[in-house]
């Protein structure tokens, strides 16, 4: 069964299922990008991506800096 979870407000499919936040970031081709990740409203520090599991019910936010006032 394809793994689905909400990333940046949209449900996305993953195959294979990402085991953790680090795998999810890799699957989205965002590895090495200047980003920060929040899972279910809590920041996941970069140092803990590899040990933080993701489940189908999770809501993830992946953010970066853009131009703004």
């Amino acid at each position: 069964m394809t793994f689905r979870c909400a990333v940046n407000g949209a449900v996305r499919s993953f195959d294979p299922a990402p085991a953790d936040v680090a795998a999810l970031v890799r699957a989205l081709a965002l590895e090495g990008k200047r980003i920060a990740v929040e899972k279910n409203g809590e920041v996941v520090p970069r140092s803990r991506w590899a040990e933080t599991p993701v489940a189908p019910s999770d809501r993830l936010e992946i953010i970066g800096a853009v131009g703004g006032g």
Partner: protein, 273 residues
């Protein structure tokens, strides 16, 4: 004493630094990075402005975009500028706090932030109740909070007592370019504040920036006035000069106004008859 942040700009070189908490800056002009044509123009305008503190927004990453697409962080490296991540677009204290926690993670523990909690999408007027609530949480979590607010002196006083490091009242609506609409309220805030008061929003042209500084403001924060000028880079330089001229005039102390009598500048004797 070891400087806690060795990369901080300003430091001891400036005889008249802008002091935000434990940080010192030589430029009193703070500039936003939005609305420019491209990152090249953004960087050129920032360089022309002399700004050391630049605001940035925090937004969802565009997943699936071109991997080689230019990024703001490349054009405006955090090593060369002091980033001031903002909460633009947030309408609740919770969203603002979440946004800045993410910004702190994104920027490797950086705690200097611009808090703004909006109350209305048309006027972008701040929701002061949510702003106060967010400020309390952020200060308690160790953020160095510079706060956008209305020009209400009571709210400004409350934000200062919460522990905000700079009070940043609007001069007129965000992006309006309407200038300093209520200098008297700004004066009330300036007279009572022990932390820097920085005009944030409403400046349209260099004379507006100069007026803010002549009133005694510690600095001016702007974005649209530069980005939407016909020549943004030239306007950035004009704003730098406007801020500097206004600051010098404030420090020099203007002559008293004489409403009902003129005073000649040339000698009154020795005239040919």
């Amino acid at each position: 004493m070891n400087a806690p942040h060795p990369t901080l700009p300003g430091t001891s070189a400036s005889p008249d630094p802008l002091v935000i908490g434990r940080r010192r800056f030589s430029s009193r002009l703070l500039v936003g990075t939005g609305k420019y044509r491209d990152f090249g123009q953004t960087r050129a305008a920032l360089d022309a402005s002399g700004a050391e503190i630049v605001t940035v927004a925090i937004r969802r990453t565009n997943i699936g975009q071109d991997a080689g697409a230019p990024s703001l962080l490349d054009a405006v490296p955090p090593s060369a500028f002091t980033y001031l991540p903002n909460t633009a677009g947030c309408y609740s204290a919770d969203d603002a706090v979440r946004t800045l926690r993410l910004a702190r993670e994104l920027l490797d523990g950086h705690t200097l932030v611009k808090l703004e909690v909006l109350g209305d999408p048309h006027t972008l007027f701040p929701n002061v109740r949510e702003t106060l609530k967010a400020a309390e949480t952020l200060v308690a979590e160790g953020f160095e909070v510079m706060v956008y607010t209305s020009d209400d002196p009571i709210v400004a006083r409350d934000l200062e007592s919460i522990g905000c490091l700079a009070i940043m009242p609007l001069a007129s609506l965000i992006g309006s370019g309407m200038g300093i609409l209520n200098p008297w309220n700004l004066r009330l805030i300036l007279d009572q504040s022990k932390v820097p008061v920085i005009v944030d929003a409403g400046v349209g042209t260099a004379s507006d920036a100069a007026i803010a500084m002549e009133l005694g403001c510690a600095g001016v924060l702007m974005n649209t006035a530069i980005a939407l000028a016909q020549d943004p880079v030239r306007m950035a330089r004009a704003m730098k000069l406007g801020v500097e001229a206004g600051r010098e005039a404030f420090l020099a102390g203007r002559m008293p106004r004489k409403l009902y009598s003129a005073s000649p500048s040339s000698p009154t004797s020795g005239l040919i008859s």
